[in-house]
């Protein structure tokens, strides 16, 4: 009995870890994109996640997506719509605020130049999370669909009493996340705009000599980064209850993932997020519930202190 239970728990944790990891990975991609191009640590990224959740929720419940597309395709489309909405929000925020503290001049300064950005995004985080509290209230919401409480059964496996329960909403969310992450990867690698973003990230001055408007690239990176994380939020909303302060719960996961993957590497961030997801779920096997989050922090601190360049550590210093 014991072996079967252990195997079942481990496999379940592994599965959940991969599922959550895919979602974390997508969130991290958004944050990493913003950092690699703009060299901005966006403290408000958790709030973009939150905005994505609410946007998806409203799209699904109020804007009729549920009615039109039903409870299976609905949440997915709602998440994508949320991405579009937050994209626009990102553009607006960039034009109003970020533009004044980023750009060609600041992107080059590694030293003191980044404090204004950090502080600004901190203020933004406070405004968005508390503004959300005012607008949306503090009652947790979920995008509940039949899939949220149904699970596919996989088992018995290995001829033992080992059955895996694959929550439908989560699984679908993870699959969509993987698709979006894949699409981003292709976009960055192949699309002309993707290459321009990479060029602006590598060397803003040289990019200017090519005729690339670095400010515009920053704006695009910020908006896309926000949108990607928002899509992840919209997907998470389909199985996890959320309220306006939820950003803070995930922000450390995002940072841990990005740092683990190597700051400056967008692809690495995805793997970093995935790894964090796995670590978090596997740790449930040995650690009590409340200590899980603390475990992530400790892991994060260890990574920063011992190996700040992460796994795929790109040289964050500019050419």
């Amino acid at each position: 009995m014991n072996t079967a239970v252990i195997i079942e728990n481990t496999l379940q944790a592994l599965y959940t870890g991969l599922i959550l990891g895919s979602l974390y990975g997508l969130m991290c991609v958004g944050l990493a994109l913003i950092f690699s191009v703009m060299r901005v640590i966006n403290f408000a990224q958790g709030e973009f996640l939150m905005l994505g959740m609410y946007a998806a929720f409203f799209a699904f419940t109020q804007a009729g997506i549920a009615a039109i597309l039903g409870p299976y395709a609905g949440p997915v489309v709602a998440a994508l719509i949320a991405g579009a909405v937050v994209f626009v929000v990102g553009v607006v925020l960039y034009e109003l605020l970020l533009r004044r503290v980023t750009g060609l001049e600041v992107a080059g300064a590694e030293g003191e130049g980044h404090y204004p950005q950090l502080t600004l995004t901190l203020g933004l985080s406070l405004m968005l999370s508390n503004g959300g509290l005012i607008l949306f209230g503090s009652m947790p919401e979920t995008l509940r669909t039949p899939m949220s409480s149904n699970a596919w059964e996989l088992g018995p496996l290995f001829g033992l009493d080992v059955t895996l329960y694959l929550n439908q909403a989560r699984t679908v969310a993870a699959v969509v996340a993987l698709c979006v992450a894949g699409a981003m990867a292709v976009f960055i690698a192949r699309a002309r705009i993707g290459k321009m973003l990479r060029a602006a990230a590598d060397n803003p001055e040289a990019a200017t000599y090519m005729g690339i408007h670095v400010g515009r690239q920053h704006r695009l990176a910020f908006a896309i980064g926000a949108a990607i994380t928002a899509i992840a939020g919209g997907l998470v909303a389909s199985y996890y209850p959320f309220q306006p302060y939820i950003g803070i719960e995930f922000v450390i996961v995002m940072y841990a993932g990005v740092v683990l993957g190597g700051m400056g590497s967008v692809g690495g961030a995805f793997w970093g997020g995935l790894a964090i997801g796995l670590v978090q779920q596997l740790s449930t096997l040995v650690l009590p519930q409340q200590l899980q989050n603390a475990a992530i922090f400790v892991a994060f601190l260890l990574i920063i202190l011992l190996r700040p360049q992460g796994l795929f550590g790109r040289n964050v210093e500019r050419v």
């Binding site: 605020l97 503290v101 980044h114 204004p116 600004l120 508390n130 740092v259 603390a294 920063i304 700040p308």
Partner: protein, 617 residues
């Protein structure tokens, strides 16, 4: 005119000490300023406590208590982040540790908060060292993220430990012994006392070598190291003091609120409040955090009280908006912004710029007897490697006492690398650097400075708001433990570069050449026997160049040996007694300027092989 004064022999120590012993902080203006600040604090305290006395509403009494507590946290944050430039986004870690120390000591061990708060201060200090030690190795973004993570990690740990809500028990028998007072106004008094302690600490730090060293580190850390400052040590001292004060504030907070929960004391809002209060009011100023707390805390609390029901979270929105507004419009905070606005008249009357001695510099005749000048610096076989690239290879030369040696060479030859190796900023793969028979290779930059080797840097970043004297004295502190003597040395250095009489000028009013001379004075304040000048003439106009050449010659005549890196060749060939040519990391030639500049190998290095070939053919 400036030549005459710089040629005077440096006065002896005792005389300087006697002259300066009268003014403890180094100058009459500083003592007056101190008196003014203290009287403002005293007046403020009286006013505030008087106003408190008149308030009978418990709610407002509580607010009057909270304001000085956050002001204390702000002042404490300022002591570390404001002066060092390392923004801590995680001061809530110390705040929470202090709160829980007091709460748990009372709940579990029955220890009165009177002792508990002191214990909180100690706990905070320890936490400061424990957190600071590993985290200071990190640069920029990583530092910010790590500091952010500490309080949040503690938040979860404390929740896991079961301390979701720790209530401070009432004590019926001897409430006062347990810091429990029926009259809320007593807490205001306690909070104000704590704030005054914090302000006193801030004052002690601000104009002292503590604050000035931190500022130097903030402005240009490598330059500070080259001036003999040990950044790690100062940062640790700063964070320890800051953390202790913050923890004490947290402890008092626990006593006042009677309940401690992890999100309240370890949460993001607490960290944000610590920094917004100072950012808003004014970074690296004494009263900035107080002003910030006076404005923001009542604003936040009132909004929360009035609108909290209809608009929960309005406090956070306002704080967030305040942070954004400050960053975009007044990055240094309100007080400095206002000061600049009003102080503009004062600055305009900064005084006439330095009269430059524009007569072309003529190299003085060589000293009469062929003195066997001893070798001051002996460099042998120095090699430096960056990854696969050999930046310096088998570099060897000797610097004779009393000479001016110029190091020249085409772009990328390794000149700055050589200076950095001599100074200790980069390690040598092999070779030795003997200064007065003391091996310098392998020593950190501040040790090299204390051994008697001074250095100037290309990027001059002065303390814009401070006087010339304060800018220069930073160079004297590492080698002079006594403050009065240090200020004496600073004045002497200022005289030697010809800026006598300008000690009180604010640095932002100086011209470029005056700033260069001030930088030179800072290096001289440590009384180096060897001075490394890194492109001190870069970007100066021709009359400015002539003036500075004479100042350098004057310094040499006082017995300082000078090694110069310069690109301004027409000046170099007149200034240097000898030239050393580096090319591709190797010593190409050495000798008198005329000989070196006609050396075909040197010409080839600069102008290319084909030039030499053509010129012959």
């Amino acid at each position: 005119m400036s030549n005459a004064s710089s040629n005077r022999m440096a006065p002896n120590d005792a005389g300087a000490a006697r002259r300066d012993a009268a003014t403890s902080a180094g100058s009459a203006e500083s003592a007056a300023e101190l008196k003014r600040t203290v009287s403002i604090i005293a007046a403020g305290v009286v006013l505030y406590l008087g106003a408190t006395w008149l308030i009978s509403d418990r709610y407002y009494q509580l607010m009057f208590t909270i304001i000085p507590i956050w002001a204390t946290v702000g002042v404490a944050w300022n002591i570390f982040s404001g002066y060092s430039g390392l923004m801590s986004f995680g001061h809530a870690a110390f705040f929470g540790i202090g709160a829980y120390t007091v709460a748990l000591l009372l709940v579990n061990l029955g220890i009165s908060p009177w002792f508990g708060i002191v214990a909180a201060g100690l706990a905070g200090a320890v936490a400061g060292v424990v957190i600071g030690f590993p985290t200071f190795r990190l640069r920029g973004h990583y530092f910010a993220l790590a500091m952010l993570a500490y309080p949040l990690a503690l938040l979860y740990v404390f929740e896991w430990l079961g301390y979701q809500e720790v209530a401070l028990p009432m004590n019926r028998e001897a409430p006062a012994a347990y810091m429990q007072f029926a009259d809320q106004r007593v807490y205001v008094l306690l909070a104000v006392i704590l704030l005054v302690i914090a302000l006193a600490a801030n004052l002690a730090v601000a104009r002292s070598r503590f604050g000035l060293s931190l500022l130097a580190i903030k402005q240009n850390e490598p330059a500070a190291m080259g001036a003999g400052i040990n950044p790690r040590a100062w940062k640790l001292r700063a964070i320890t003091l800051s953390a202790a004060l913050t923890s004490m504030a947290g402890g008092l907070y626990a006593v006042v609120l009677l309940i401690v929960t992890p999100p309240t004391v370890f949460g993001m809002l607490a960290s944000a409040q610590a920094l917004i209060v100072t950012l808003f009011g004014g970074i690296a100023t004494i009263f900035g955090p107080v002003l910030g707390a006076l404005i923001l805390v009542p604003l936040g609390e009132t909004l929360h009280a009035e609108l909290g029901n209809r608009l929960p979270g309005i406090q956070g929105v306002v704080y967030g908006a305040a942070i954004i507004a400050v960053v975009l419009m007044a990055p240094e905070g309100i007080l400095p912004r206002l000061a600049r606005h009003w102080g503009r008249d004062r600055a305009a009357a900064g005084g006439a710029p330095l009269t430059l001695d524009a007569a072309p510099y003529v190299r003085p005749p060589p000293p009469p007897a062929a003195i066997e000048a001893k070798t001051l610096l002996d460099v042998r076989g120095v090699a430096v490697r960056f990854g696969g690239l050999q930046a310096l290879q088998n570099v060897a030369f000797a610097v004779r006492a009393g000479e001016i040696l110029g190091i020249i060479g085409p772009n990328g030859a390794g000149k700055t690398t050589l200076f950095n190796a001599l100074n200790g900023f980069i390690s040598t793969a092999s070779g030795s650097v003997k200064f007065e028979d003391q091996e310098l290779a392998g020593q950190p930059p501040f040790a090299v400075c204390r051994a008697g080797v001074g250095r100037t840097f290309q990027i001059v970043r002065p303390f814009a708001r401070l006087s010339v004297l304060h800018n220069v004295v930073v160079g004297a502190f590492p080698v002079e433990p006594d403050d009065a003597h240090a200020y004496g040395r600073a004045r002497e250095a200022i005289r030697r570069v010809g800026l006598a009489g300008r000690e009180g000028r604010i640095a932002s009013t100086l011209t470029t050449v005056e700033l260069r001379l001030m930088e030179l004075a800072r290096a001289l304040a440590a009384r180096p026997r060897l001075l490394l000048l890194d492109e001190i003439l870069a970007g100066l106009g021709s009359t400015e160049i002539e003036h500075v050449l004479k100042v350098i010659d004057g310094i040499r005549r006082e017995g300082v040996t000078v090694v110069v890196i310069e690109h301004t060749m027409h000046a170099m060939v007149r200034l240097a007694d000898r030239l050393l040519v580096l090319d591709h990391g190797v010593v190409l030639a050495e000798g008198e300027p005329k000989a070196v500049t006609s050396n075909p190998a040197v010409i080839e290095a600069y102008l290319g092989k084909r030039w030499v070939a053509r010129a012959d053919g």
